[in-house]
């Protein structure tokens, strides 16, 4: 008993010290960026961190906790982005008596419409808040819908087949958005009304705070979810689906629920992303950015650990940003032969994936297998049972 406890203690302190080191590195890098480039770069990083934390947490729910090879994360992100690009703006336009049909998304109309909506939103904080809430709800609903639709044919497929099918669906959705201009303008990006317009120059700061609050809420929700019996079912499914079936688990139902919840959360991430950028360019919603990068974040952070996800996102986002910022000063030797150092972002992504798989298979923060209930409650339940049976 004592041996177990002490080894557990060592394990815990090892992880804790690792988290401290990573946090120290992150803070040092952020401080460095702050003193060389100013606050705006920190805000940009933080906004990206919150958005990608949300998307990666949803991926973690599906792939980390339940073992579904979700290689089509971008599909749900696209659903959220398209929904926020297409629906709330139209509702506002209809509300204001402006054209809200197919012509809403056409580039000649859209660039005059959206500023009008923005003026209205800028004048009323209530309206802005309502608009933001509407965006989130619509994004989550459309995400849940697409998650359910994808789960229908895909859920019965096995590992690799499932992953590839979802990847193909994600790609296909992107092409639909790019070509069918009615949704989000096709190849000409549609603008999204901005609920943060009223804050003027403080817009980014407010976005950071609001997005962060949303991310924390989702974090808390997911923590509750994975500690619940549902979370236990998911892990059971991941570790051995055959014995999960034998134990009476309805695989299709559990997996569908998991895909729907995950997709809804990822869609919120996609919605927030387009609110932040202010426009929806379908061609920019690639599997590279919204499937593969989240996978890298999750693998670096630690599959099945949401704290790890946060660390992974923030560390890699800082590194990505640094490549972009310092490309001319650090990688001048590449530019001398005409090579754009921006491609190093791909190298970084690939290298992170490979290094993590080969040398850090459990990531920075390994999954903590905790009992589902606190031991006190288990004892209490057992005691109650004995009383009843006695």
């Amino acid at each position: 008993m004592t041996v177990n406890e002490s080894s557990g203690g060592i394990f815990k302190s090892l992880i804790a010290s690792r988290i401290t080191y990573v946090l120290a590195i992150i803070i040092a890098l952020l401080a460095f960026l702050y003193f060389t480039r100013g606050l705006s770069i920190i805000l940009t990083i933080l906004i990206q961190v919150t958005i990608f934390s949300i998307i990666t947490m949803s991926l973690n729910l599906e792939s980390g906790y339940s073992g579904i090879p979700q290689f089509g994360r971008v599909a749900a992100v696209i659903a959220g982005a398209f929904a926020v690009g297409a629906i709330p703006g139209r509702i506002m336009a209809a509300f204001m008596g402006l054209p809200a049909g197919a012509e809403y998304a056409s580039d000649t109309v859209n660039f005059r419409l959206v500023p009008e909506i923005n003026t209205l939103l800028a004048n009323s904080w209530l309206m802005s808040l309502g608009f933001l809430a509407m965006c989130l709800v619509i994004a989550a609903l459309s995400g849940a819908l697409i998650g359910w639709l994808i789960s229908r044919p895909a859920i019965r497929l096995k590992e690799g087949y499932l992953g590839i099918s979802m990847l193909a669906i994600g790609d296909f959705l992107m092409w639909v958005g790019h070509n069918w201009s009615i949704i989000v303008g096709g190849s000409v990006p549609v603008n999204v009304p901005d609920p943060f317009r009223m804050f003027g120059t403080n817009r980014f700061t407010v976005i950071v705070v609001v997005f962060f609050v949303i991310a924390v809420l989702i974090f808390v929700y997911l923590n509750k979810l994975t500690q619940s019996p549902f979370g236990r079912n998911l892990r059971m499914l991941r570790d051995n689906d055959l014995s999960a079936v034998a134990a009476g688990l309805d695989i299709v139902k559990v997996r569908t629920q998991c895909l729907v919840i995950g997709a809804a959360i990822a869609a919120i991430g996609g919605g927030l992303y387009v609110i932040y950028t202010g426009s929806v360019a379908a061609i920019g919603l690639t599997r590279l950015t919204f499937t593969f990068w989240p996978w890298a974040y999750m693998m670096l952070g630690g599959i099945g650990s949401n704290i790890g996800v946060f660390l992974g996102v923030i560390l890699l986002t800082i590194l990505r940003t640094m490549i972009i910022i310092f490309r001319s000063t650090w990688f001048g030797f590449l530019m001398a032969v005409g090579i754009d150092p921006l491609w190093l972002e791909f190298t970084l992504l690939g290298a992170v994936i490979i290094i993590v798989i080969l040398f850090l298979p459990h990531g920075l923060v390994p999954e903590k297998i905790a009992p589902m209930l606190p031991s006190k409650r288990i004892k209490k339940v057992l005691a109650d049972r004995q009383v009843v049976s006695g």
Partner: protein
């Protein structure tokens, strides 16, 4: 030849090779190879560089394409796949590892394209490889030559797998690695050879595909869902199934787009990727194990039996 058929044949031969490459690697090592995307693009750039820097026809550089594709395969095997196979990694881990390799290759390709632009004043980001082709019987020669090369390649592969000692050993390892090991077959060597063959196939397929569509650094990344669709359509059970699946995907995409665009207008072109994916989904609904799951022999036997029954 119908206008879609000549490009369609070229494209389908390319997809057949890449889908075959994916299938071969999957049945030997249980690895879904994402890196096929970049390997294919590398194949295209090897042929492109040869043609633009040293002249001649693209076909002359195909041996080099095979060699360089094989090298990328060997690097991936020793650097990544081998340690993971010995660790008995999960299928998803194997898949992710090749994705990492693919992204590194992609960055190398992008840098190489930049380098070509800067040092040789070329335009390697939008390439029409068919411009370097010649005419044969009033058609582009590629429409005849590439299917022939593909068939020759596959014939050699078939002879290798069925007639040579090492080829049979490969099939033995695919079927039963434990027994093969106990028989003295070095599975390490089998894995290495399958990476060499599949790397070569992927690169060759990529250089074929570039003859039918615009060659870009992200060409492979763009069509990898279709390569996988071909492999899955083939059932991932044997190489010939994968090749057939790639062929079907390629031809139906070109034929489907052509027919639909004639009837509904050119807007269909934007959704061309949907056609092969739809065909994949439809086939999997009817035959969950793909084309190779179709019990052809049984169907034929049943037909004969019915005839015999009718006679009696």
């Amino acid at each position: 030849m119908a206008p879609w058929l000549s490009s369609g044949l070229v494209y389908a031969s390319g997809l057949a090779l890449t889908a075959g490459s994916i299938t071969l690697l999957y049945i030997v090592t249980r690895t879904f190879n994402f890196a096929v995307a970049s390997m294919a693009t590398i194949g295209f750039y090897v042929a492109y560089s040869g043609v633009t820097l040293y002249g001649g026809l693209p076909y002359l550089y195909y041996p080099l394409v095979l060699i360089i594709g094989a090298i990328t395969g060997v690097v991936c095997y020793y650097g990544l796949n081998r340690p993971l196979l010995y660790r008995k990694a999960a299928e998803t881990t194997l898949m992710m590892s090749t994705l990492g390799y693919d992204l590194i290759l992609l960055s190398v390709i992008q840098m190489y394209a930049d380098f070509l632009t800067h040092s040789y004043k070329l335009f390697p980001r939008r390439v029409t490889m068919s411009l370097f082709d010649f005419e044969l019987f009033g058609e582009r020669a590629a429409a005849f030559i590439l299917p022939i090369i593909a068939i020759a390649f596959l014939t050699i592969l078939h002879i290798f797998l069925t007639k040579t000692k090492f080829g049979i050993a490969m099939r033995a390892t695919i079927e039963n690695p434990t027994l093969a090991g106990a028989s003295g077959i070095n599975s390490d060597r089998v894995y290495l050879v399958s990476w060499i063959i599949s790397g070569g196939m992927a690169a060759l397929g990529g250089s074929f595909i570039a003859m039918a569509m615009t060659g870009t650094p992200v060409m492979g990344m763009f069509i990898i869902p279709l390569m996988f669709a071909g492999a899955i359509l083939g059932g991932l059970g044997n190489i010939y199934g994968g090749i057939l699946g790639g062929m079907v995907i390629g031809l139906t995409e070109f034929a489907g787009v052509f027919i639909l665009a004639q009837n509904f207008g050119p807007w269909v072109l934007g959704y061309r990727m949907g056609i092969p994916l739809f065909i994949m989904a439809a086939t999997l609904l009817v035959f969950p194990r793909g084309l190779s799951g179709i019990p052809l022999a049984k169907i034929i036997r049943n037909l004969f039996r019915r005839k015999r029954g009718a006679r009696a």
